[in-house]
Every structure is written in C-alpha cells, then in structure tokens.
C-alpha cells in the first residue's frame, strides 16, 4: 500500500490543481491570470512534494525502534523468532517466535510451504505471546518455508523461513548383546536396510561371540576399546553384556565424547524411576524413554523390550518413529571441522554481514569465496579458532559460500523480509545513519507552498 501512496498524492494533487485552475479561469476579474495560474501550480506542486517527502521520512522513522508508549498503537508484529537454518535429513524444523498482537482480534500464524499450511497457531487479541511451530520440510537442499500472519482473511505479513536440509548421514551403531535376541536383530536389520553401518556382538558362550557387520568392514569386537568406540556413534547394549573393564572404558570414554549409550531394559526395569530428560511418553502420559547426560555422553533407557512386535504387527511406522527418536537423540552429533556462520542472524542485502569461520584444525586457506567475491579472513584476537571477515551482499536470496571444499548455502534477506527483525540488528548503526541525514529537503517545499499561498492571498486583497 505504502508504495502506492506517492501515486495517490500525485493524483489528488492533479485533481486539486485542475479545480484550482478552473476556479482561477472562471473568476470574473481576469487580472494577472497567467501569474495566478503559475502560482497555483507552484502551490499544488509544492504541497504534493511536501506530502511525498513527509511520507518517505515516515518510512525511515519506521526503522527506528518504537518507544514503549507508542507500542500500544504499533501494528501487530514479530518481536523475535528463530529456527534451525540447517537441518538433518527428515528432521523437523522448530520455528519459535514471539508475536505481539496489538489488534483487538485474534491473529493466526501459519507456517506453510508451496501453498500448504503445515502448522499454525492462534495469537489471542492484544497479547504478546511466544509460540512454537514445527514441521518436517519436504525438500532436500535449500527451500523457503513461509510464515504468515493472518487476521481473518487479511494477510498482515509474510516472511520467508529459509532452511537447508542436508542429505542423509549414515549412523554407525554398535550392538553389544548378552545373547542373540530378536529385538536387536530386528533393529539391526532395519538400520542396515537404511544404509546405516551396524556391528553386533552377541555372546553365545563364555568367551565366544557371534558377530555381524552390515555396511562396514570387519573389526575385532572382542573388547570395547577407545579405538573401537571412535568408529561408532551409538552403542546399544545389554547391561550384563558388558564386562567390568568395558564398563569402565565406556564411562571413561563418555567423559570426553558425546557418544550415546542405549541400555536395553531388564525385565524388571521401570522407566519412570529413572530421572532424566523425557524423550517419549506412553499413552498414559508416563515417560517411556528417558535420556540422561553423563559428562559429555548420553545414556538412554526405555521400558519396552519387545518393540519388534510392532514391526511384526505391521505398525512399522510406530517402530521407526520410536527408534528414530531414540537413536537421533543418542547419536554423536555431527561436528564438522569447519563451520561458517553469518551475523546478524537476519543478514540483509546491502548491509554489513560478518562471516565467522570456526575451525578445529589448522587453517589451510584464509579466503572465503562468495560467487566471484573473495573475502580474506582475519583471526579473532582472543579466540584462536575463530576467523572473521566482513561482507556486503549485493543480492538477496540463497548465496553459496565456499571455503576450500566446504560449500554452504546461506540466505540473504531482502529489505522487505522480516523488516521488524532486521531493524533490531543494530540500532546504533541506524541511529548513525539517521543523524547523517541532513534536515529533510521537504521544508523547502513548505516554504514554496507558503510563498505561493501568500502571493495568491495578497493578489486577492489588492
């Protein structure tokens, strides 16, 4: 609407001018006709210009944070929001935000993709609430979900939610079983059918193990060593299958590595007694799987040792959901050697963006490439693993950032995307920009308008 205001002002001005000219022309006293016409034109033009320049000044004013007193009449808007910009394959994106509904009616927030609403929530009238929307994006690669605020059928705002979904990352799972059993067998079969690396050690005699290797090369599983554990992301074990030394090794390993240990329930395990973060709840609302942290590692326990029956009864989706939740929570998190992040979070086009490169190893190259642009990196004075550079993106949309053989997609927001949050990024910078603006030129138009009016008035009085 606001972009059309200029045209509206111009149109109204033109109508006003026509009417004034008509009036001047029709006046019986034809003195100074040309002069009056010229002065009328000047008056209307300067009035219109005054209007236009005030309007653009108002637009700039919108960029500054609204003082609390004015917040009551401020339009409804997002005060904050965040989501995972990079997701694992088939993992949900959680869009959390805070919305200030200043209107007297409810507003509905929709999270959608390709015209389909995936999740939504209602914000009550004149409330400032936080909310959380969740969905699994249907794409692989980069895509833009959309967040819309709707009041009835009117769209108040639309903003993109850029997300990059990573390709599937195979897990490496080690089973340590006290005896060959069905539960482990089903889980290993499913995991290996999904391309995951599976190694299984089942005790068949006092010191004899039958072993199984799926999608990986043979390794010795006779003893759990640090070297062996390094090769896996998750360990699924029976309590009695681990020897005392192995238990000690595992505990020691978990001090420094965030490996996950899934402990099969004994027949007498009652999960609710185990304290920890609740991962899953049963139909009664009681926790059915819990996780607790041991130093850096995670130990998961659950109460059902016959989940394979779900698979057998054809409820394979339930089986997969259960184990996906458990294994995703337990798995060693991906720790790429090098990561690239942008600051501010809402990196906007034609604005300063800081690229931060974090690196665990030695830095081999000191340049980040964005398209044709080479951005040399500078080391952080205090944090040796951080390298930074400044970038002024000239285009909005997805941008491919390359560092050596690492390539990540980052989204650069246009000026009209999340304007309310882009503004937050640096109030200081905005203030500086504001002060650098000289007194608005609009006042010249005001003087011209006044002068024209005075001339017309005096002419009438003469």
């Amino acid at each position: 609407m606001s972009q059309y205001r200029t045209y509206i002002i111009a149109a109204v001005g033109a109508l006003l001018l026509l009417w004034l000219l008509w009036q001047e022309y029709r006046r019986t006293n034809k003195r100074f006709l040309t002069g009056r016409i010229l002065v009328s034109i000047l008056a209307v033009v300067s009035l219109a210009m005054l209007g236009i320049s005030l309007h653009s000044a108002e637009k700039e004013e919108e960029q500054t944070p609204v003082p609390p007193s004015a917040a009551i009449v401020a339009p409804p808007r997002f005060l904050a929001c965040n989501w995972e910009r990079h997701l694992g394959y088939l993992q949900p994106v959680h869009f959390t935000g805070r919305y200030h509904n200043t209107t007297s009616s409810t507003i509905r927030i929709h999270l959608s993709f390709a015209g389909e609403t995936l999740d939504s929530i209602t914000i009550p009238a004149s409330k400032d609430t936080t909310f959380r929307l969740q969905t699994v994006p249907p794409f692989l690669g980069t895509g833009l979900l959309k967040v819309m605020a709707l009041a009835g059928k009117d769209t108040l705002s639309t903003a993109p939610v850029p997300v990059e979904v990573a390709p599937v990352q195979p897990l490496r799972v080690l089973f340590v079983a006290a005896s060959p059993d069905v539960e482990n067998r089903f889980l290993a079969d499913w995991l290996s059918s999904q391309g995951m690396a599976v190694a299984m050690r089942s005790q068949v005699a006092a010191r004899q193990y039958s072993t199984r290797f799926d999608n990986m090369s043979n390794v010795s599983l006779d003893a759990l060593t640090t070297g062996l554990l390094d090769k896996f992301d998750v360990v699924v074990a029976d309590r009695q299958a681990l020897t005392a030394t192995e238990k000690a090794t595992l505990t020691e390993y978990m001090q420094h590595h965030d490996i996950g240990l899934l402990l099969h329930p004994d027949s007498n395990t009652v999960v609710p007694q185990i304290a920890g973060e609740v991962l899953l709840k049963d139909s009664m609302g009681k926790p059915s799987a819990v996780m607790h942290h041991r130093s850096m590692g995670k130990v998961l326990e659950w109460g059902n040792n016959s989940t394979y029956t779900w698979q057998l009864s054809g409820d394979s989706m339930r089986y997969r959901r259960f184990w996906s939740t458990l294994l995703s929570a337990a798995a060693r998190s991906m720790e790429p050697k090098t990561t690239i992040t942008l600051a501010p979070a809402f990196a906007a086009v034609n604005n300063e963006v800081t690229i931060t490169l974090r690196n665990t190893g030695p830095l081999l190259d000191t340049v980040v490439n964005v398209g044709e642009t080479r951005l040399p990196l500078a080391q952080h004075p205090l944090l040796p693993a951080e390298w930074r550079t400044t970038w002024w993106p000239g285009k909005n949309g997805w941008q491919l950032l390359k560092y050596q053989n690492i390539a990540i997609n980052e989204y650069i927001f246009g000026p009209d995307e999340w304007p309310e949050l882009q503004r937050k990024r640096s109030v200081v910078a905005d203030k500086a920009a504001e002060s650098s603006l000289a007194a608005p030129a609009s006042w010249w138009w005001a003087i011209a308008f006044l002068a024209a009016c005075i001339i017309l008035w005096i002419e009438k009085k003469l």
Partner: protein, 702 residues
C-alpha cells in the same frame, strides 16, 4: 409561429435537462456498481442497481415542469427580461404587450447558449466516476497484494490445452451394457467414463493435417482415420484402465488429457436378520425370517439364498444343499433391494439337532458376485438335554436342581398330555403347583447370585416359623437373649453381601445364571396363567442354559509333580569351548532413498525457477527424474497428478507460467511416502565449549 418556436425551445431545454440527469444517475449507479463489484464481487452489483432504482425513482417523481424551466431561464439570463413565462401561455390569452415581448425574446431564446453550470450534474458525475475508478484500483492493488502474499490460487480443475489447428472435438462415450446408461457425447478432451466403455473421438480440423494420432499413457498409439474431406477424423477405443492421453497432429503435441475410469463396485449385502447364530428352542415356530438389503452401483441381476442342512451327528452326518430365491424378484435390475424370505424349517425336513447354514449370493449386471457371511440356525436336541452322559463322570455342583428342572418339564408335558382327561379346575391347580415348583427352583438358584428371597426358602429362621407354628416354647425366645443386640441384628439383617456369596462364581457364570433365572421367571408366569404349553419353551431354554452352566463350571486341575536336579550356576558355561567358532555374518546393503530425488526436485522448484537455473545440468537431471516419477503416478491417478505433471513438463521444457513450480511441487509432495530416519544432531564445533566443559569441574570444586 414565434410562440411555437419558443415553446419548442423550452421543451428542448427541459428534455435535455431530464436526459442529462438520467444519464448522470445511470453513470453514478454504474460507478457504485463498479465499486461494489470490487468490494464484494458479483453481489456488489446489486448496490448499483439499488442506487439507480432509488435515485431514478426519486428523480422521475419530481420531473422539472416547463414552468420551472422558464423560471430558471429567467433567473439565469437577464436578456430574456423575465418574460419566458409568456411563451407557455395560450396565444389567445396574449395581450398586445405580451405579443410584442414574445416576438422580442423568441429569437434571443433560440440564440441562447446554455451555460456550463447547466451540465453541472454531468461534471460532478464524471468526477464521481473518476474517484470511483481510483478507489477500485486501490482496492484491486490491496487485494492483489494479499493474493500474491497468501497462497496463490491454483487451478484445481483441469485446464484444457487444445492444438490451434483443431476446430472442435466431439467425443461419444458408449457405456457398456451392464451400466444401463445411455450413450453420451461431450466437447472436451478430458474423459471420465465407466469401466470398459467405448470412446469414439471425432476431431474437426480447420486445415487438412497429414495425420492425427492419439498417444496414451501406456505408450500405445491410435492413428485417427480421416473422412473424404480430410478435416474430420475418427477413431474408437475401448477404455479398460485409467491414464491420460495426448493428441498429436502432424508434429504438434497437445496438452495432457485425463482418462479417468469409474470402476464397477461389486454388490453389497447387509443382513439385518437373523443373527449370525440363532437357536430356535423347542416349542417355538421353526421359522427363519431373512431380511437383507442388497445394493449395487448399476443394477442387481440375481440374488439367492444358498442353504445347507446338516442332519445327523458324528460319522452319520448328512448335508443337503438347497437354493431359495427371495420373495422379491429382480426383473428390472434395481440398484437397491430390501429382500426378505421366510424359511419354514419344518417344510425343509429339519428335525431337532439339525443345523441350517446359509449365505446370500448376489450377482450384479456385470456378473460380479458377492457372498455374504454364513449364518447358522440350530434346532437344539431336546433328547440330549435329558441324557445324564455329561453328569456321570463329572463334578456336579447341584445335581438335584438340574433334575428338578427336568422334572418340571416332564411334569409339564404330562400335564399337557392329560389335559383332556383332567378337569379344568384340576388342570389349573396342577399348573399352578408346577409354577410354585418352578418358583422354588428359581429362588434356590437366586441364592447363588446373592438375590434376596421374598419367602426365604431354605432360611432356617423362616422354616422354624413354618414348622413350629403355634409352639410358644421358642428356643430363640430365651430370656438371656433379651436385649442381645447381636442376635436381633442377626435375625433382621440380610446377609446377602456375604463375601463368599458375592464371589462364588465368576461374572460370566453369574451372567448365565441370571439368564437362566429370567427363563424360569417366564416359565413360572405361563404356568401360573394355566398355559403350560407356552411355558414349555422357557423351561427347555432354562434347562439348556443350566446344562451349559454345568459344563462351564467344571474345573480340572491336573496334578503334576516332577522333580528336577537343582542347577549349579557356578558350573554353567564352563565347558570346553575351544572348538566353537561362532558365526560371522557380513552383508552390504545398498540403500537408495527413492524419495530423495523427489525431495531434491521440490528444492530445485522452490523460490524462483529461472532459465539459467534449469540449464544447470544437475538441476535439469533432478527435474527430469522427478518428472518420470510424476508421469508414472499420473498414469495411475490422473485426477491427482496430471496437473502437476503437465506443469513440471512445461518447466522442463522451459516454457511455464508463474504458478507452475508450486503446482509441480504440490504434486511431487503428494508422492512422498511418510518416512523417518535416525539422524545425528548438527552441532557447531567449539573448542571454547570443549574447554569450558573440561574445566567445569575444576571451578565447581576448587
């Protein structure tokens, strides 16, 4: 003469005034209608109509008179010297002065130039119109913004892209005979038709093309045959599966046209009676009422009850199959039929102990047959109920009671037999006695359920009273007991909430016992009404239920006792194991996520699909693979996927509309199967976090 001209002139001015005002009102109402249309769509047009009616009627009611026109002219033009009114007068009434004045002003009147203010209403209306149009533009811009920013509207109905050379098409669909539908024709290419119908295409072209070929989704081609003129082409095909097709004229390919089949569903049977298992007790009329609702989407051809009678038992069992038609025939192949039939089992030659199995078979006009479930009707064997076979070798809870019920039946039958020889009074009193016996029996069983007994049968307190009637030396009236609260309470308290009574039987048995008691109640009622014949079925049923109860109550607890040597846990798994070499299982399984390419396709289509993006080799491959998947799906379910497929095809070819990418995305999205996958969390590498974590303990415990 002058007067005539003058009058005409006034008449003309008035006419012009009226026509301008009417024109203005029409213009205004058109503007109102326009604004209304932009605000509320079609219904908004009514606002314009209402405006026109209101203001038009108002204006027409108060049309300016000629006198008013003259007054206006006089006011507006001083040169008329306030004399226009004269012209309206009758000529004969004019005096000399008036004649002179009329002659003077008539030419002036003719030369009169109407001022611009005369057209005032027109100017204002035009201004009003301009403002209205501006308003509409503003509304449209606002609305347009909303539409672009919310979900763009996508065509849900299939659009038809016809080759320019085709003048028109006439498709005749001949539905197969089983549908009973008439031949119909249509002028659009999308075809929705019944299974196995014949479709005849007739295409009229402007020019004379070299060839017209129909290309079907199953990659068959059909060459159309021209007539002598070369502009009318024919072909026919029997459609047996869903898919889509294209028209190829010379080398030009049309869009995709849907070919949707309506399958013929097999008939449906809903049996409302009898119940799946029915037992007709002895004494009941041996009739089975069969009620069923039969339905089909095109028509029922035949319906029959297929019954099998099983008679005899053991090895001597014999089966006899018979077919019955329903009472209602099917002469005109109805779509829905409420069929009924009553089978008389006696006429079928069924005796007690025989069983009837039947199902309903219904055939529709396409020879598709549906069979219902099998229903069983049993005539119980009364003789078997009397046999003591089951009781001789089993634990019997209360054998005398069973005998009692049997005794009641025997006596009832004897009573019926002797009815004629006995007098009415005697018959009635005997019947009443039997009723009393039945009641006593019921009350005894009622005790098992903890029921209160109204006459306290078997209660020692009551029995004492009965027997020792008149005996004043009551043992219970012991002086020592006087004021003994416990004793008094004991006498006047019902002890039916005794824990043992309440849990004597499990709920299932209690339920059956209750059903037995109900039957006994009914039998007693009939006996007391002197209708032993009618009491007999209830008595039999009570007996049968009691027999079942007796069978159920049997519990066998076999005695088992074997002693095993105790295990020595310390010796477990200590054998020689050197020779054991456990299995090593190894397998490599290729994993290919079938949906990965579709998901990648959705990502490629996201945002702005630009030509340079599509020339990117990688993206083009992904889109082509996605298209292949979508094409397969579209031939399976054209209604669901054809739009998306056509959209993606246009994208791959590089000529597409702005709605196409989203349309294609939605189609691809529908192809995705629900999936979950364990995936590791994404985490930032952080030497700093690591350092913090390692040292957290040191700071916590200094």
């Amino acid at each position: 003469m002058d007067k005539q001209r003058g009058r005409q002139r006034i008449e003309m001015i008035r006419g012009r005034w009226i026509s301008f005002r009417i024109m203005a009102i029409e213009l205004q109402s058109a503007t109102v209608a326009l604004i209304g249309y932009f605000l509320w769509g079609m219904p908004g047009l009514w606002a314009g109509l209402a405006y026109m009616l209101l203001f038009g009627a108002y204006f027409l009611r108060k049309l300016p008179t000629k006198a008013e026109v003259t007054i206006w002219l006089n006011q507006e033009f001083p040169e008329l010297e306030d004399s226009t009114g004269i012209l309206l007068k009758q000529e004969a009434d004019w005096n000399l002065l008036e004649q002179l004045q009329a002659a003077k002003i008539t030419p002036r009147l003719e030369l009169l130039k109407l001022p611009l203010s005369f057209y005032k209403s027109v100017w204002y209306t035009i201004l009003f119109g301009i403002i209205g149009i501006i308003l509409c533009v503003v509304i449209q811009i606002r609305r347009g913004n909303d539409i672009v920013s919310t979900a763009p509207t996508f065509p849900t109905t299939l659009t038809e892209k016809v080759i320019p050379g085709i003048q028109k098409v006439n498709i005749t669909i001949v539905p197969p005979a089983y549908t009973g539908l008439a031949t119909r024709s249509q002028a659009s290419f999308h075809i929705t038709t019944e299974d196995s119908s014949e479709v005849r295409w007739e295409i009229h072209t402007h020019a004379v093309p070299g060839s017209i070929i129909l290309q079907f989704s199953d990659s068959t081609q059909l060459r159309m045959i021209p007539d002598s003129s070369g502009t009318t082409w024919h072909v026919a095909k029997r459609i047996t599966h869903t898919g889509f097709y294209q028209v190829k004229m010379d080398s030009i390919l049309s869009g995709f046209y849907q070919l949707q089949l309506i399958p013929d569903q097999p008939p449906l049977i809903k049996v409302s009676s009898p119940a799946p298992n029915t037992t007709i007790d002895f004494g009941r009329p041996p009739l089975v009422n069969i009620h069923a609702q039969l339905s089909d989407d095109y028509g029922l051809k035949s319906a029959a009850i297929v019954a099998t009678i099983a008679s005899g038992s053991g090895e001597a069992v014999k089966f006899k199959e018979q077919q019955f038609a329903f009472d209602q025939g099917l002469p005109d192949h109805p779509k829905l039929l409420n069929a009924s039939k009553t089978l008389n089992l006696a006429n079928l030659g069924m005796k007690p102990r025989d069983e009837l199995y039947f199902h309903i078979a219904v055939t529709d006009t396409r020879q598709q047959q549906t069979l219902s479930d099998v229903y069983i009707v049993t005539l119980p064997d009364t003789a078997a109920l009397f046999s003591l076979d089951g009781m001789v070798n089993a634990v019997n809870i209360k054998p005398e009671y069973f005998r009692s019920q049997r005794q009641i039946i025997l006596e009832t039958e004897a009573l019926i037999h002797d009815k004629d020889s006995l007098g009415t009074t005697r018959f009635n009193s005997k019947s009443n006695e039997l009723g009393t016996d039945q009641k006593l029996l019921r009350l005894r069983y009622g005790k098992f359920l903890g029921e209160e007994s109204e006459s306290n049968v078997g209660d020692p307190r009551v029995e004492d009273h009965d027997h020792d009637h008149g005996d004043h030396d009551h043992q219970t009236e012991n002086g020592a007991d006087f004021g003994n609260a416990a004793k008094i309470l004991d006498e006047f308290t019902d002890k039916h909430d005794n824990a043992e009574d309440a849990t004597f039987f499990d709920p299932e048995i209690k339920k059956q016992l209750k059903a037995t008691l109900t039957e006994m109640w009914k039998a007693e009622l009939q006996l007391r009404l002197y209708k032993p014949q009618e009491a007999l079925p209830y008595e039999y049923k009570a007996l049968r239920l009691l027999k079942d109860l007796q069978q159920k109550s049997r519990a066998f607890v076999p005695k088992t006792g074997t002693k095993t040597t105790p295990l020595k846990p310390e010796k477990r798994l200590t054998g020689e194991q050197d020779k054991i070499s456990p299995a090593v299982m190894k397998q490599i399984r290729d994993y290919n996520d079938p949906d990965a390419v579709i998901r990648a396709g959705i990502a490629v289509l996201d945002g702005h699909v630009s030509p340079e993006q599509l020339t990117n080799n990688n993206n083009a491959t992904v889109l082509r693979q996605s298209l292949a998947r979508l094409t397969t799906a579209a031939s399976r379910e054209p209604g669901k996927y054809l739009n998306a497929m056509a959209a993606l095809q246009r994208i791959v070819q590089g000529q597409f509309k702005h709605t196409d990418p989203v349309l294609a995305q939605q189609g691809l999205w529908k192809l995705l199967s629900p999936a979950v996958m364990p995936q590791p969390a994404q985490q930032q590498p952080g030497l700093l976090q690591d350092y913090y974590f390692r040292n957290i303990k040191k700071t916590a415990n200094p």
